[in-house]
Protein backbone atom coordinates (compact mmCIF):
# COMPACT_ATOMS: atom_id res chain seq x y z
CA UNK A 1 0.00 0.00 0.00
CA UNK A 2 1.28 3.44 -0.85
CA UNK A 3 1.88 5.66 2.13
CA UNK A 4 -0.14 8.84 1.74
CA UNK A 5 1.96 11.81 2.70
CA UNK A 6 0.76 14.96 4.44
CA UNK A 7 0.96 17.06 1.26
CA UNK A 8 -1.35 14.71 -0.59
CA UNK A 9 -3.72 14.33 2.31
CA UNK A 10 -4.05 18.08 2.82
CA UNK A 11 -4.60 18.59 -0.90
CA UNK A 12 -7.41 16.06 -0.63
CA UNK A 13 -8.86 17.83 2.40
CA UNK A 14 -8.62 21.21 0.65
CA UNK A 15 -10.21 19.96 -2.56
CA UNK A 16 -7.00 20.51 -4.51
CA UNK A 17 -6.30 16.97 -5.64
CA UNK A 18 -6.80 15.73 -9.20
CA UNK A 19 -9.40 13.05 -9.93
CA UNK A 20 -6.98 10.11 -10.07
CA UNK A 21 -5.41 10.84 -6.72
CA UNK A 22 -8.78 11.68 -5.18
CA UNK A 23 -10.00 8.24 -6.16
CA UNK A 24 -6.85 6.73 -4.67
CA UNK A 25 -7.42 8.48 -1.35
CA UNK A 26 -11.11 7.60 -1.35
CA UNK A 27 -10.18 3.96 -1.75
CA UNK A 28 -7.54 4.12 0.97
CA UNK A 29 -9.88 5.86 3.41
CA UNK A 30 -12.31 2.97 3.18
CA UNK A 31 -9.96 0.64 5.00
CA UNK A 32 -7.43 2.85 6.75
CA UNK A 33 -8.48 4.11 10.18
CA UNK A 34 -5.30 6.05 10.76
CA UNK A 35 -5.72 7.87 7.45
CA UNK A 36 -9.29 8.75 8.38
CA UNK A 37 -8.09 10.18 11.67
CA UNK A 38 -5.40 12.23 9.94
CA UNK A 39 -7.95 13.54 7.47
CA UNK A 40 -10.30 14.46 10.25
CA UNK A 41 -7.55 16.36 12.08
CA UNK A 42 -6.61 18.20 8.92
CA UNK A 43 -10.20 19.26 8.38
CA UNK A 44 -10.72 20.10 12.04
CA UNK A 45 -7.81 22.53 12.02
CA UNK A 46 -9.22 24.36 9.02
CA UNK A 47 -12.62 24.50 10.71
CA UNK A 48 -11.01 25.85 13.89
CA UNK A 49 -9.29 28.60 11.93
CA UNK A 50 -12.50 29.51 10.17
CA UNK A 51 -14.33 29.59 13.49
CA UNK A 52 -11.67 31.89 14.97
CA UNK A 53 -11.52 34.38 12.10
CA UNK A 54 -14.83 34.32 10.25
CA UNK A 55 -16.62 36.31 12.98
CA UNK A 56 -14.39 39.25 12.00
CA UNK A 57 -16.53 39.49 8.87
CA UNK A 58 -19.52 40.44 11.01
CA UNK A 59 -17.73 43.00 13.15
CA UNK A 60 -18.47 46.60 12.28
CA UNK A 61 -15.62 48.13 10.28
CA UNK A 62 -14.03 50.95 12.32
CA UNK A 63 -15.05 54.35 11.00
CA UNK A 64 -11.45 55.45 10.58
CA UNK A 65 -11.01 52.68 8.00
CA UNK A 66 -14.21 53.10 6.05
CA UNK A 67 -13.60 56.87 6.06
CA UNK A 68 -10.50 56.26 3.96
CA UNK A 69 -12.71 55.03 1.15
CA UNK A 70 -15.08 57.96 1.13
CA UNK A 71 -15.10 59.87 -2.13
CA UNK A 72 -12.72 62.78 -2.35
CA UNK A 73 -14.15 66.29 -2.18
CA UNK A 74 -15.78 67.26 -5.46
CA UNK A 75 -13.25 68.92 -7.73
CA UNK A 76 -10.41 67.75 -5.48
CA UNK A 77 -7.59 67.56 -7.95
CA UNK A 78 -5.59 64.85 -6.19
CA UNK A 79 -7.39 61.87 -4.70
CA UNK A 80 -4.46 61.21 -2.37
CA UNK A 81 -4.77 64.49 -0.54
CA UNK A 82 -7.77 63.71 1.68
CA UNK A 83 -6.10 60.39 2.47
CA UNK A 84 -2.92 62.03 3.62
CA UNK A 85 -4.85 64.40 5.82
CA UNK A 86 -6.83 61.59 7.36
CA UNK A 87 -3.58 59.77 7.97
CA UNK A 88 -2.09 62.74 9.75
CA UNK A 89 -5.02 63.05 12.12
CA UNK A 90 -4.95 59.43 12.95
CA UNK A 91 -1.18 59.27 13.28
CA UNK A 92 -1.05 62.03 15.84
CA UNK A 93 -4.11 61.05 17.80
CA UNK A 94 -2.91 60.94 21.39
CA UNK A 95 -5.58 58.42 22.29
CA UNK A 96 -4.02 55.70 20.20
CA UNK A 97 -2.18 52.87 21.83
CA UNK A 98 1.57 53.08 22.04
CA UNK A 99 2.11 50.02 19.91
CA UNK A 100 -0.16 51.29 17.20
CA UNK A 101 1.50 54.64 17.05
CA UNK A 102 4.88 53.08 16.76
CA UNK A 103 3.74 50.94 13.86
CA UNK A 104 2.26 53.95 12.16
CA UNK A 105 5.05 56.43 12.74
CA UNK A 106 7.31 55.87 9.70
CA UNK A 107 4.42 56.29 7.31
CA UNK A 108 3.06 59.33 9.10
CA UNK A 109 6.51 60.85 8.98
CA UNK A 110 6.78 60.15 5.28
CA UNK A 111 3.40 61.71 4.69
CA UNK A 112 4.33 64.78 6.67
CA UNK A 113 7.82 65.27 5.27
CA UNK A 114 6.92 65.17 1.62
CA UNK A 115 4.03 67.20 0.32
CA UNK A 116 2.93 64.68 -2.18
CA UNK A 117 1.12 65.62 -5.29
CA UNK A 118 0.70 61.97 -6.16
CA UNK A 119 0.26 62.78 -9.78
CA UNK A 120 1.48 59.99 -11.91
CA UNK A 121 3.19 61.95 -14.58
CA UNK A 122 3.96 59.33 -17.19
CA UNK A 123 2.73 61.31 -20.15
CA UNK A 124 1.71 64.48 -18.44
CA UNK A 125 5.08 65.75 -17.34
CA UNK A 126 6.00 68.91 -19.10
CA UNK A 127 9.59 67.90 -18.66
CA UNK A 128 9.42 64.15 -18.69
CA UNK A 129 12.94 62.70 -18.65
CA UNK A 130 11.89 59.67 -20.58
CA UNK A 131 11.74 58.06 -23.96
CA UNK A 132 9.45 55.28 -25.06
CA UNK A 133 10.26 52.01 -26.80
CA UNK A 134 7.81 49.18 -27.14
CA UNK A 135 5.32 51.00 -24.94
CA UNK A 136 7.88 51.12 -22.15
CA UNK A 137 9.27 54.28 -20.65
CA UNK A 138 13.00 54.60 -20.27
CA UNK A 139 15.06 57.24 -18.54
CA UNK A 140 16.99 59.59 -20.80
CA UNK A 141 20.05 61.71 -19.98
CA UNK A 142 20.80 63.27 -17.60
CA UNK A 143 18.65 60.98 -15.45
CA UNK A 144 19.95 57.83 -17.13
CA UNK A 145 23.55 58.98 -16.62
CA UNK A 146 22.93 59.55 -12.94
CA UNK A 147 21.29 56.14 -12.58
CA UNK A 148 24.29 54.58 -14.31
CA UNK A 149 26.97 56.36 -12.34
CA UNK A 150 25.83 58.03 -9.11
CA UNK A 151 26.18 56.30 -5.76
CA UNK A 152 23.92 57.09 -2.85
CA UNK A 153 26.90 56.52 -0.60
CA UNK A 154 28.74 59.38 -2.31
CA UNK A 155 26.03 61.98 -2.81
CA UNK A 156 26.85 65.00 -4.90
CA UNK A 157 24.82 67.90 -3.51
CA UNK A 158 25.26 69.85 -6.74
CA UNK A 159 23.98 67.12 -9.04
CA UNK A 160 20.44 67.53 -10.25
CA UNK A 161 19.65 63.86 -9.72
CA UNK A 162 19.99 62.19 -6.35
CA UNK A 163 19.87 58.46 -5.83
CA UNK A 164 17.95 56.95 -2.92
CA UNK A 165 17.74 53.21 -2.52
CA UNK A 166 19.19 50.56 -4.77
CA UNK A 167 17.96 47.00 -4.48
CA UNK A 168 17.35 43.82 -6.39
CA UNK A 169 13.74 43.26 -7.34
CA UNK A 170 11.78 40.04 -7.16
CA UNK A 171 12.28 39.57 -10.90
CA UNK A 172 16.05 39.80 -10.52
CA UNK A 173 16.59 43.28 -11.92
CA UNK A 174 18.39 46.04 -10.08
CA UNK A 175 16.17 49.00 -9.28
CA UNK A 176 17.02 52.46 -7.92
CA UNK A 177 14.90 55.25 -6.53
CA UNK A 178 15.83 58.75 -7.51
CA UNK A 179 14.90 62.38 -7.09
CA UNK A 180 15.41 64.75 -9.97
CA UNK A 181 15.69 68.14 -8.30
CA UNK A 182 15.14 70.25 -11.41
CA UNK A 183 11.75 71.93 -11.64
CA UNK A 184 9.28 70.35 -11.38
CA UNK A 185 10.97 68.03 -8.93
CA UNK A 186 10.31 64.42 -9.80
CA UNK A 187 10.83 61.25 -7.89
CA UNK A 188 10.63 57.75 -9.18
CA UNK A 189 11.81 54.22 -9.43
CA UNK A 190 13.78 52.82 -12.36
CA UNK A 191 14.78 49.22 -12.97
CA UNK A 192 17.66 48.24 -15.21
CA UNK A 193 17.12 45.96 -18.20
CA UNK A 194 18.81 45.39 -21.53
CA UNK A 195 17.43 48.60 -23.00
CA UNK A 196 18.45 50.82 -20.08
CA UNK A 197 16.66 52.20 -17.04
CA UNK A 198 12.99 51.43 -17.34
CA UNK A 199 10.82 53.78 -15.30
CA UNK A 200 8.33 52.02 -13.11
CA UNK A 201 7.03 55.09 -11.35
CA UNK A 202 7.53 58.77 -11.87
CA UNK A 203 5.73 61.24 -9.67
CA UNK A 204 5.93 64.83 -8.63
CA UNK A 205 7.78 65.40 -5.38
CA UNK A 206 8.75 68.21 -3.10
CA UNK A 207 12.37 69.15 -3.33
CA UNK A 208 14.05 67.39 -0.42
CA UNK A 209 16.09 69.12 2.24
CA UNK A 210 19.81 68.54 2.02
CA UNK A 211 20.82 65.24 3.52
CA UNK A 212 17.32 63.87 3.41
CA UNK A 213 17.89 61.76 0.38
CA UNK A 214 19.66 58.91 2.05
CA UNK A 215 16.59 58.11 4.08
CA UNK A 216 14.84 57.62 0.81
CA UNK A 217 12.62 54.85 2.10
CA UNK A 218 10.88 57.23 4.43
CA UNK A 219 11.06 60.43 2.44
CA UNK A 220 10.05 59.13 -0.98
CA UNK A 221 6.54 59.91 -2.15
CA UNK A 222 4.15 57.10 -1.25
CA UNK A 223 3.76 56.04 -4.86
CA UNK A 224 7.50 55.43 -5.08
CA UNK A 225 7.62 53.80 -1.69
CA UNK A 226 4.75 51.54 -2.66
CA UNK A 227 6.53 50.59 -5.88
CA UNK A 228 9.64 49.72 -3.87
CA UNK A 229 7.57 47.68 -1.43
CA UNK A 230 5.99 45.81 -4.29
CA UNK A 231 9.31 44.88 -5.88
CA UNK A 232 12.06 44.67 -3.30
CA UNK A 233 13.59 41.30 -2.60
CA UNK A 234 15.42 41.27 0.72
CA UNK A 235 17.03 44.47 1.89
CA UNK A 236 18.20 47.53 0.02
CA UNK A 237 21.89 47.54 -0.97
CA UNK A 238 24.45 48.89 1.42
CA UNK A 239 27.27 51.08 0.10
CA UNK A 240 29.48 48.13 -0.78
CA UNK A 241 26.73 46.28 -2.62
CA UNK A 242 25.72 49.42 -4.45
CA UNK A 243 29.26 49.96 -5.71
CA UNK A 244 29.63 46.31 -6.69
CA UNK A 245 26.37 46.49 -8.62
CA UNK A 246 27.59 49.55 -10.50
CA UNK A 247 30.90 47.88 -11.29
CA UNK A 248 28.97 44.90 -12.65
CA UNK A 249 26.96 47.14 -14.96
CA UNK A 250 23.72 46.83 -12.94
CA UNK A 251 23.20 43.24 -14.06
Amino acid sequence: MNLIDDDTLQAYADGELDATNTARIDAALAHDDLLRRRLQQTRALRAQLKAAFDPVLDEPVPARLSALLQPARPQAPMPIKPLAQAAGRRGFDAGRRRASRRWWKPVAAATASVAVLAVTLWWHAGRAPLSVHDDRQYATAPLSDALDRALASEPDPHASVGIGLSFRSTDGRICRTFIDRAKPTLAGLACHDDAGWRLSVLTAAKKPEEGELRQAASSMPPAVQAAVDARIRGEAFDARQERAARDAGWR
Partner: protein, 167 residues
Protein backbone atom coordinates in the same frame (compact mmCIF):
# COMPACT_ATOMS: atom_id res chain seq x y z
CA UNK B 1 -0.03 54.08 -26.46
CA UNK B 2 -3.08 56.25 -25.99
CA UNK B 3 -4.05 56.83 -22.42
CA UNK B 4 -7.80 56.93 -21.86
CA UNK B 5 -8.85 58.84 -18.82
CA UNK B 6 -10.60 56.64 -16.33
CA UNK B 7 -10.29 57.69 -12.74
CA UNK B 8 -8.70 54.53 -11.36
CA UNK B 9 -8.90 55.73 -7.80
CA UNK B 10 -12.67 55.84 -7.99
CA UNK B 11 -12.92 52.32 -9.40
CA UNK B 12 -10.53 50.96 -6.80
CA UNK B 13 -12.09 52.89 -3.94
CA UNK B 14 -15.57 51.67 -4.75
CA UNK B 15 -14.32 48.15 -5.26
CA UNK B 16 -12.57 48.11 -1.91
CA UNK B 17 -15.60 49.02 0.17
CA UNK B 18 -17.27 45.59 -0.05
CA UNK B 19 -13.86 43.94 0.51
CA UNK B 20 -13.28 45.65 3.87
CA UNK B 21 -14.61 42.80 6.04
CA UNK B 22 -12.49 40.23 4.22
CA UNK B 23 -9.48 42.50 4.39
CA UNK B 24 -9.95 42.83 8.12
CA UNK B 25 -10.16 39.07 8.47
CA UNK B 26 -6.99 38.60 6.46
CA UNK B 27 -5.18 41.32 8.40
CA UNK B 28 -6.27 39.72 11.68
CA UNK B 29 -4.93 36.37 10.55
CA UNK B 30 -1.65 37.86 9.33
CA UNK B 31 -0.93 40.00 12.36
CA UNK B 32 -2.64 38.07 15.13
CA UNK B 33 -3.74 41.30 16.80
CA UNK B 34 -6.76 43.55 16.52
CA UNK B 35 -4.82 46.81 16.67
CA UNK B 36 -2.02 45.71 14.38
CA UNK B 37 -4.59 44.37 11.97
CA UNK B 38 -6.49 47.64 11.70
CA UNK B 39 -3.28 49.67 11.49
CA UNK B 40 -2.11 47.35 8.75
CA UNK B 41 -5.41 47.73 6.97
CA UNK B 42 -5.16 51.49 7.12
CA UNK B 43 -1.79 51.36 5.40
CA UNK B 44 -3.11 48.84 2.90
CA UNK B 45 -6.01 51.09 1.95
CA UNK B 46 -3.75 54.06 1.57
CA UNK B 47 -1.29 52.13 -0.55
CA UNK B 48 -4.10 50.74 -2.66
CA UNK B 49 -5.41 54.23 -3.31
CA UNK B 50 -1.93 55.54 -4.07
CA UNK B 51 -1.34 52.68 -6.45
CA UNK B 52 -4.81 52.62 -7.96
CA UNK B 53 -3.40 53.50 -11.35
CA UNK B 54 -1.41 50.28 -11.31
CA UNK B 55 -4.44 48.07 -10.89
CA UNK B 56 -5.56 46.44 -14.14
CA UNK B 57 -9.29 45.78 -14.39
CA UNK B 58 -8.61 42.24 -15.62
CA UNK B 59 -6.89 41.44 -12.32
CA UNK B 60 -9.11 40.51 -9.40
CA UNK B 61 -9.18 43.43 -7.01
CA UNK B 62 -9.31 41.19 -3.93
CA UNK B 63 -6.11 39.32 -4.87
CA UNK B 64 -4.43 42.58 -5.79
CA UNK B 65 -5.17 44.19 -2.46
CA UNK B 66 -4.40 40.98 -0.55
CA UNK B 67 -0.94 41.11 -2.09
CA UNK B 68 -0.58 44.69 -0.90
CA UNK B 69 -1.60 43.58 2.58
CA UNK B 70 0.84 40.72 2.65
CA UNK B 71 3.69 42.91 1.43
CA UNK B 72 2.86 45.69 3.86
CA UNK B 73 2.91 43.22 6.74
CA UNK B 74 6.24 41.85 5.55
CA UNK B 75 7.59 45.40 5.52
CA UNK B 76 6.37 45.96 9.04
CA UNK B 77 7.95 42.74 10.26
CA UNK B 78 11.21 43.74 8.59
CA UNK B 79 11.07 47.16 10.19
CA UNK B 80 10.40 45.67 13.61
CA UNK B 81 13.20 43.21 13.13
CA UNK B 82 15.57 45.98 12.16
CA UNK B 83 14.71 48.17 15.09
CA UNK B 84 14.61 45.26 17.53
CA UNK B 85 11.23 46.37 18.72
CA UNK B 86 9.33 43.17 18.63
CA UNK B 87 6.25 43.35 20.71
CA UNK B 88 3.91 40.85 19.19
CA UNK B 89 4.42 38.60 22.17
CA UNK B 90 3.16 40.92 24.82
CA UNK B 91 -0.26 41.32 23.30
CA UNK B 92 -0.65 38.15 21.30
CA UNK B 93 -3.95 36.52 21.82
CA UNK B 94 -6.22 39.53 21.80
CA UNK B 95 -6.93 38.81 18.16
CA UNK B 96 -9.71 36.38 18.77
CA UNK B 97 -13.02 37.49 17.38
CA UNK B 98 -16.22 36.84 19.26
CA UNK B 99 -17.05 33.41 18.08
CA UNK B 100 -18.51 30.21 19.30
CA UNK B 101 -15.29 28.40 20.07
CA UNK B 102 -14.19 28.83 23.66
CA UNK B 103 -11.87 31.70 24.61
CA UNK B 104 -9.15 29.36 25.77
CA UNK B 105 -9.12 27.58 22.47
CA UNK B 106 -8.99 30.83 20.54
CA UNK B 107 -6.11 32.06 22.64
CA UNK B 108 -4.26 28.87 21.97
CA UNK B 109 -4.86 29.09 18.27
CA UNK B 110 -3.81 32.74 18.21
CA UNK B 111 -0.62 32.01 20.09
CA UNK B 112 0.12 29.08 17.82
CA UNK B 113 -0.44 31.16 14.72
CA UNK B 114 1.77 33.98 15.96
CA UNK B 115 4.50 31.46 16.64
CA UNK B 116 4.62 30.38 13.01
CA UNK B 117 7.29 31.86 10.74
CA UNK B 118 5.80 34.65 8.59
CA UNK B 119 5.93 32.71 5.33
CA UNK B 120 3.97 29.88 6.92
CA UNK B 121 1.50 32.17 8.61
CA UNK B 122 0.68 34.02 5.41
CA UNK B 123 -0.08 30.76 3.60
CA UNK B 124 -2.39 29.73 6.44
CA UNK B 125 -4.08 33.12 6.30
CA UNK B 126 -4.55 33.09 2.53
CA UNK B 127 -5.58 29.48 2.04
CA UNK B 128 -7.17 28.29 5.26
CA UNK B 129 -8.70 31.54 6.49
CA UNK B 130 -9.31 33.44 3.27
CA UNK B 131 -10.05 30.37 1.15
CA UNK B 132 -7.73 31.03 -1.78
CA UNK B 133 -6.77 28.04 -3.89
CA UNK B 134 -3.17 26.87 -3.80
CA UNK B 135 -2.55 28.32 -7.24
CA UNK B 136 -4.12 31.65 -6.33
CA UNK B 137 -1.96 31.84 -3.22
CA UNK B 138 1.12 30.85 -5.24
CA UNK B 139 0.48 33.60 -7.76
CA UNK B 140 -0.10 36.16 -5.05
CA UNK B 141 3.05 35.17 -3.18
CA UNK B 142 5.03 34.74 -6.39
CA UNK B 143 6.22 31.28 -5.45
CA UNK B 144 5.61 27.89 -7.09
CA UNK B 145 2.49 25.96 -6.10
CA UNK B 146 4.72 23.27 -4.59
CA UNK B 147 6.13 25.85 -2.21
CA UNK B 148 2.64 26.81 -1.06
CA UNK B 149 1.81 23.16 -0.55
CA UNK B 150 4.88 22.38 1.49
CA UNK B 151 4.64 25.56 3.61
CA UNK B 152 1.01 24.81 4.29
CA UNK B 153 1.73 21.22 5.28
CA UNK B 154 4.50 22.32 7.63
CA UNK B 155 2.36 25.08 9.09
CA UNK B 156 -0.46 22.64 9.69
CA UNK B 157 1.86 20.18 11.37
CA UNK B 158 3.21 22.94 13.62
CA UNK B 159 -0.27 24.19 14.50
CA UNK B 160 -1.44 20.66 15.27
CA UNK B 161 1.45 20.11 17.60
CA UNK B 162 1.00 23.49 19.35
CA UNK B 163 -2.63 22.67 19.82
CA UNK B 164 -1.81 19.27 21.17
CA UNK B 165 -3.57 17.52 18.32
CA UNK B 166 -0.36 16.09 16.93
CA UNK B 167 -0.11 12.44 16.11
Amino acid sequence: MEKRYVDPSQVVREGLIPLLPRLRRLARALTGQVDDADDLLQIVLERAMTRAAQWRPDAALDKWVFAIARNAWRDELRARGRSQRLFAGEEAGVMAADGNSGPAQKLELAAALVALPPDHREVVALVLVEGLSYSEAAELLQVPVGTVTSRLARARAALQSYLGNGT
